[in-house]
């Protein structure tokens, strides 16, 4: 019997993110927690979930203990339905075949924009981060779920650089910029689950994770939080979910 309280933030994030997916969906997953969460959902309740990787894979089934070090490694193709070029798989986003894009980010803001390019002024950056990869394409072209650790320096009013667009500056600014489809749908953290309010397109808390108060959440967030009228409480991870996460990632490659 597993001790329910005894899980890492990354394990919690993986489990809560996996719950956002439904059977039959086509999911474009980034490496790390998104890949693990999509695999967890597929094994637990969504056998018909189709996972796409930007390396060029349709219908991946990742093997327990053999998590790939990136979405471009041969391990990503195990038992897949199809292997194709990376431009081709990204074009599936543009054509509209992808139900959910699933990724992480270094920094997120109140409109769900993600930064994975620069910390500080882009002209004289404090830190040059790796960059967009397929993140910008996923965020521009699909409904997106973001999974990330909740820290004040990561949850900011305005990101230093919009690498992957959420609702840009709120309201209809995303659409007006030419991004006609998609948008950030959920942000899942180790403290709470967030959605976006329909009109202003600003982030709002829809459910608090077990043991997290409004005050603690606000203290760890760099902008004033809105709470949904019917604020929920997240169900804690089940033993089954935890067991499976640990079976998939026994070496804690993604869930340390």
């Amino acid at each position: 019997m597993l001790e329910k309280r005894n899980y890492t933030a990354a394990e919690l994030l993986t489990i809560l993110s996996a719950r956002q997916l439904s059977d039959g969906q086509v999911v474009f997953a980034g490496v790390g927690i998104p890949l693990l969460a999509a695999t967890l959902a597929q094994r637990l309740r969504c056998p018909g979930l189709t996972i796409l990787f930007e390396g060029g894979v349709i219908g991946a089934f990742i093997e327990p203990g053999k998590l790939p070090p990136s979405t471009n490694d041969q391990r990503c193709t195990k038992r897949a339905n199809m292997v194709l070029g990376s431009a081709e798989v990204l074009l599936l986003l543009q054509r509209g075949y992808v139900d959910v894009g699933f990724m992480s980010g270094a920094q997120v803001d109140q409109y769900g924009n993600l930064n994975s390019s620069f910390i500080g002024d882009p002209l004289r950056p404090k830190t040059r981060l790796p960059g967009t990869g397929g993140g910008n394409d996923i965020a521009s072209l699909a409904q997106m779920i973001v999974a990330m650790k909740h820290e004040k320096r990561r949850f900011v009013e305005q990101v230093d650089f919009i690498t992957s667009p959420g609702y840009l500056h709120g309201r209809d600014t995303r659409r007006k910029s030419g991004l006609l489809a998609g948008g950030t749908f959920r942000v899942v953290t180790d403290l709470a689950v967030f959605g976006f309010e329909d009109e202003k397109r600003r982030m709002q808390v829809i459910s608090l994770n077990p043991g997290v108060t409004r005050e603690r959440l606000q203290d760890n967030t760099g902008f004033a939080l809105d709470f949904a009228p019917h604020l929920g409480v997240t169900e804690p991870p089940t033993d089954q979910e935890l067991e499976l996460v640990r079976e998939l990632d026994p070496d804690r490659l993604y869930t340390a």
Binding site: P69, N72, D73, A87, T127, R128, S140, L141, T163, T173
Partner: protein, 326 residues
């Protein structure tokens, strides 16, 4: 070198592109050269396109040889860059990278080597979305000056790239982003097998390599194995790059080490972990130490492989072949 609106330093007029192709000897001929000889196909200042992605089918041996040959001022473009990018920068042969993502790998955080060279302004990093990189190579392969895309719009990635142009579609009025063609002077691509003429077969993930080969003005292939033309003809559907697009062929077993080659070997993760700890500990001294020992030290590529160790090579090969297990 600063782009202004509509001016891409990587995009050429159509006649120039055709002239470059006319100058090449595209006949059916033996193109096999040594790794050292192949470096002469790359000139200082060239725009180089690199095949594979992240740690997969990276032409590491070719990059290793170019550093040893002391090329200068290369602009290097790749879908996603890993430790190959670190080597290009620390090797002093590259002053601009054009890519969508650059770090050693997601497992190891941010590359301190990339940070060191880019944050000091010694190397320019042009960031494009992954799909934009693909469409830039595709436009180059198609012989057209641009492709329209629907990503990057509204983001700061777009704002940093004035050479990409936003237009209102003449048919629908919708906003589109035109990304300029990328026609590298030379492409470096590693494949599982090809014949002496350059008919190349790629197993598994092909990334952007076919567009890259067709876009480039010259292609250097490194290959795990040179096979006969008869063997190529037995499975022509497996041939992904035609001989007439290829200028040089180098037989180079384990040519992606310490990265992976689909179906042949997985990444040599123990070496990668050693490497990352060394160079992210100190991007200057650590990298110097690595270059001395693993790039400039060995007399040949085989001697470099010997430094990785037979145990690690065999382990990687066993894992690589396991992709074909039921």
């Amino acid at each position: 070198m600063v782009e202004t609106e509509g001016k891409s330093i990587d995009t050429h007029g159509y006649l120039e592109l055709r002239q470059e192709l006319l100058r090449r000897d595209r006949s059916l001929r033996d193109k096999v050269v040594s790794l050292e000889e192949a470096t002469s196909f790359v000139r200082d200042g060239d725009l180089v396109g690199i095949g594979g992605s992240t740690m997969s089918r990276t032409p590491m041996g070719m990059i290793w040889a170019l550093i040893r040959a002391g090329r200068k001022r290369l602009s290097c473009s790749r879908s996603i860059m890993s430790s190959d990018g670190d080597l290009l920068l620390a090797g002093g042969i590259c002053d601009r990278v054009v890519t969508s993502w650059f770090s050693q790998g997601i497992l190891w955080g941010v590359s301190k080597v990339m940070r060191h060279y880019v944050e000091t302004g010694n190397v320019r990093y042009d960031e494009w979305s992954h799909m934009a990189m693909g469409m830039r190579f595709r436009a180059g392969a198609m012989g057209v000056p641009f492709m329209p895309i629907r990503s990057m719009l509204g983001s700061d990635v777009q704002k940093q790239r004035p050479e990409a142009i936003e237009i209102d579609c003449p048919f629908t009025g919708e906003k589109l982003l035109l990304v300029p063609a990328l026609n590298p002077d030379v492409a470096l691509i590693h494949v599982q097998r090809c014949d002496a003429y350059g008919n190349a077969q790629i197993d598994g993930l092909q990334f952007m390599d076919i567009d890259l080969a067709m876009a480039a003005n010259k292609v250097i292939l490194t290959t795990e194995r040179i096979v006969s033309n008869d063997q190529i003809r037995r499975a022509p559907d497996q041939t992904k790059i035609p001989f007439f697009a290829v200028d040089a062929v180098v037989e180079l077993p384990f040519g992606c080490a310490p990265h992976e080659c689909y179906g042949v070997y997985e990444p040599m993760l123990r070496h990668m972990e050693y490497y990352v700890a060394l160079v992210n500990g100190d991007p200057v001294k650590g990298m110097q130490q690595y270059m001395d020992r693993f790039v400039h030290g060995p007399k040949s590529w085989s001697e470099f492989l010997a430094l990785l160790g037979i145990e690690e090579l065999l382990e990687a090969a066993r894992a690589g072949e396991s992709i074909y297990d039921a």
